[in-house]
């Protein structure tokens, strides 16, 4: 079973994302901030990270770079999920290590489409 870490400061968004992921037989864990997520990944690198790059007090791009520098940091598919939707921000995220990008708001169909694109389903 594939394994995803959902990183978002909104408990509601985390629950919605986890429910959708689990409906596709992807095991999902949650982290509410980048530091927790980084510690989690150091112990148990997931197959995918669904990451809100606008977490309070977090430099989203720096988080992406830190993950990619970890041992096995190349392994997870990283999908940035954010309300930032201009081309420059998308390009920066891709340059920092993101594989895909979801512009909020999203729904089940969009997440399903992205999971298919990155080969998780």
């Amino acid at each position: 079973m594939k394994h995803c870490l959902v990183v978002d400061d909104s408990r509601v968004i985390r629950k919605i994302a986890c429910t959708i992921l689990e409906s596709f037989s992807i095991a999902a864990d949650e982290a509410e901030d980048a530091a927790t997520a980084l510690n989690y990944c150091r112990v148990n690198m997931p197959d995918m990270i669904l990451f809100d790059s606008q977490l309070p007090g977090t430099n989203g791009l720096e988080f992406l770079r830190l993950i990619r520098r970890e041992p096995n940091g190349h392994h997870p598919v990283i999908v940035v999920c954010t309300t930032e939707n201009d081309v420059e921000q998308i390009t920066e995220a891709l340059g920092a290590g993101a594989n895909e990008y979801i512009m909020k708001p999203f729904d089940r169909e969009i997440l399903e489409s992205k999971l298919a694109q990155v080969g998780l389903i």
């Binding site: 939707n85 201009d86 081309v87 998308i90 891709l94 969009i110 489409s113 992205k114 694109q117």
Partner: protein, 279 residues
């Protein structure tokens, strides 16, 4: 809408577009007709329903267009497009390396996502830089759908259904809340309103036909007629790409399934046998 009015509608739509409306679509029909009634100045939808037995030409066409299904997405169902990129296109490029010309028809394009998906793949293949002439034609029964496709403007929701983010960045520019396909891609496609019930002669000989998720809405006679016309228009080594759901479409003897579900080729000429390995 009364049953009699619905049958008048179904008859009108079948004669104009070949689409079969079954009685379970009555609520769908009412929701689609409400804006048509407003556009043509009817005070109530019921007044439009009463007109359906003998409608004016412009009303009949608007009603028939409104009943088409325009839902689509970029790289819809993925596999047919990956097959096009990885198998169909390389085979045809090899087969046409002398002529350096490919003709592809994307029929029933709805709002254009599938046609642009093909255009992105063709652009990425870099054939134009090698002096290939690529003709990509996108058609739909609905003039409104063709107009939207030609404009190439999509909502944030639409560009997130099936379109990899790298391709969004490469081929689109942001316009407020929407995203517009760049001119280079738009100019790769010739858009045209076209009814699959009409003659295909103007299309000439085609190397690939995409006709996805359409035939199942037609009656048996129309399905058969369209399949024969597509077979006549397709080059002997061309490909027909249908949707996963083709219902009761009878493709034999004009087509046989290729190495991927939903993709069809013409049967090899009778008497032709595969070359036997030496020894």
């Amino acid at each position: 809408m009364t049953p009699a009015e619905f049958w008048n509608l179904a008859d009108l739509v079948r004669r104009r577009s070949g689409l079969v409306l079954t009685p379970d679509k009555i609520r769908f029909a009412e929701s689609k007709l409400a804006p048509i009634a407003g556009r043509f100045g009817f005070r109530k939808s019921a007044e439009l329903y009463a007109e359906l037995a003998h409608p004016r030409e412009e009303i009949a066409q608007a009603v028939a267009e409104a009943m088409t299904v325009n839902d689509s997405s970029f790289f819809r169902d993925r596999a047919p497009f990956e097959h096009f990129r990885d198998v169909t296109l390389p085979r045809l490029v090899k087969a046409r390396e002398t002529q350096k010309r490919l003709r592809i028809w994307c029929s029933a394009i709805a709002h254009g996502q599938e046609a642009y998906s093909l255009a992105m793949m063709l652009d990425d293949a870099g054939l134009a830089a090698q002096d290939w002439k690529i003709e990509l034609v996108g058609t739909d029964f609905s003039a409104e759908a063709v107009s939207r496709a030609r404009a190439g403007v999509y909502s944030q929701y639409e560009v997130q259904r099936g379109l990899p983010i790298q391709l969004l960045v490469k081929y689109f520019t942001q316009e407020g809340e929407n995203w517009r396909v760049n001119d280079r891609l738009r100019h790769m496609i010739t858009f045209r309103t076209f009814n699959l019930l009409d003659h295909f002669g103007w299309l000439g000989t085609l190397d690939v036909i995409f006709c996805r998720n359409v035939l199942m809405y037609f009656d048996e006679h129309t399905k058969s007629d369209v399949v024969h016309k597509m077979a006549d228009a397709l080059a002997p080594d061309g490909y027909l790409v249908l949707g996963d759901t083709i219902g009761s479409v009878k493709l034999r003897p004009r087509f046989e399934e290729s190495d991927l579900r939903g993709i069809y080729a013409k049967p090899r000429a009778a008497g032709m046998k595969p070359a036997r390995a030496a020894g």
